[in-house]
């Protein structure tokens, strides 16, 4: 028998997801435009979760159906996972479709809207005629970057769904037996000794020798990275995937490296 308490556990996490900002209620035009963008970066958009932002539509008092939009998105292979800026009626429509409501982030939306008009600057005309606007928060993805470069009307912005934690700076040596936990990024200027443990929900930077354990993305952020000037770590981990010093290849030992996660595998690269 399993211990009842071990059957499940709740964890909290922060993740990035594209937000689909709709500026038009012309379903056919939206679908066409979306399809074009998907063709540009099929891998990135395949089964991608999306948050639908209808604030602009409601501002312009355009008539549209949430059900129709959701069906269209699912048809072309996207997974809508949230609705932003909907009216009460639209929200209840979304809930019937099992789409959660993202409420209480009006100031965030305002910021995004301002940014997008600013980013649109030179291509204001394009932005207006374009029926969709994709805001995404994975600029690290090279495919998206390529897609952005080739389309003028696709503006890319960082949207952080929750308030971001401050980064933590440590200037003293982290000695054996000490533990440090940062809710955001962790920056260590001194050495981290063997037997010490540094943990961060975000990235870890060690501008010195890393001999202890370093665990980045401890709340599940798989895009977190570890950077250090001299890798001699006992253990490195990102979002739960780890390598012990035994499994860190010799060529990377005592080198300046970055460590990141790719398909659940820790990749260690020398920083030239």
């Amino acid at each position: 028998m399993l211990n009842p308490s071990s059957v499940l556990e709740f964890k909290s996490t922060t993740f990035f997801t594209p937000i689909l900002v709709l500026n038009s209620n012309d379903m056919a035009a939206i679908e066409l435009s979306l399809q074009e963008k998907i063709n540009l970066a099929p891998d990135f958009f395949r089964h991608s979760p999306l948050v639908i932002d209808v604030r602009e539509l409601n501002k312009a008092e355009l008539d549209f159906s949430i059900t129709e939009i959701v069906e269209m998105l699912r048809r072309i292979g996207l997974f809508p996972i949230g609705l932003r800026g909907g009216t009460e009626q639209q929200n209840s429509q979304a809930q019937k479709l099992s789409i959660p409501i993202d409420a209480g982030r009006d100031h965030d939306n305002g910021g995004v809207a301002q940014q997008s008009s600013g980013a649109g600057g030179a291509t204001a005309a394009d932005t207006k005629t374009s029926s969709t606007e994709i805001a995404d928060a994975t600029p690290a993805d090279s495919k998206t970057a390529a897609a952005t470069a080739s389309t003028a009307d696709l503006s890319v912005q960082s949207v952080v769904p929750t308030t971001f934690a401050k980064s933590m700076l440590v200037t003293q040596p982290v000695r054996s037996g000490q533990r440090i936990y940062a809710h955001g990024d962790l920056v260590v200027m001194s050495q981290v000794s063997a037997g010490a443990e540094i943990m961060a929900e975000g990235n870890i930077h060690v501008y010195n020798t890393l001999r202890g354990r370093a665990l980045a993305g401890v709340q599940g952020n798989t895009s977190a990275r570890i950077f250090c000037l001299d890798l001699q770590a006992e253990l490195v981990s990102i979002a739960g995937d780890y390598k012990t010093s035994e499994h860190i290849i010799k060529e990377m030992q005592k080198k300046p490296v970055q460590i990141y996660l790719q398909d659940h595998a820790l990749i260690i690269n020398e920083i030239a």
């Binding site: 040596p173 000695r175 054996s176 037996g177 000490q178 000794s193 063997a194 037997g195 010490a196 001999r211």
Partner: protein
Amino acid sequence: MARIIVVTSGKGGVGKTTTSAAIAMGLAKRGHKTAVIDFDVGLRNLDLIMGCERRVVYDFINVINGEASLNQALIRDKNCSQLYILPASQTRDKDALTLEGVGRVLDELSKDFKYIVCDSPAGIEKGANLALYYADDAFVVTNPEVSSVRDSDRMLGILASKSRRAERNEEPIREYLLLTRYDPNRVKSGEMLGLEDVQDILSLQLLGIIPESKSVLSASNAGIPVILDEKSEAGQAYEDVVARYLGEDRPHRFIDDKRGFFRKLFGGRL
């Protein structure tokens, strides 16, 4: 106000008591009124190294508990009138030490003494924590081998987080490295960590290297702090340590093998 020095290491048997006795004697010989306290309650050793075991009547715990006054418990050293020893109790354990009690004793000593040397027990438990809590300076005694270096590193972490200075957010404890039982020949053959290896890990200000020396054992057995054996390398090395601690600039010795050492010694002296 006295300057409180803790001699600590984490690991046992690295030379904390030998070092405490030597530097306390070194400071006292230079005319600074110095007290040395044995925090190793239950495993009293300092009195043996100082050669005053036959004169112990009251101890540190008696003073903490108010069963004796400081003056009754302090033993004046037979070689140096500026040096006093406060022995540990052999019949009690570390639980007899209290934060307030230790603080009271140190406060009282501070009125009269220039330096107070706290000989820490091994480990990172109560005795060691209380020995370092009130410290201004820490002599971290390390042997050139991996487990001692790691334990010292652990101790440095505790010094930086659990001391009174850390808790009050005052200027941190000044930490110094003392590399003891150093054998240049074994370093050369790769059997022992070298100074550079140790410094690479601990990155501390080096106060001195004490070479492995037979004179340390014979001095301990005779109950005379090794610093008084001026002919021995260990004695000279401790003399250097005290001088450097007091701000004198002395080049490090005993890092290289014997021939190098003699050349340096005579080159420097003659």
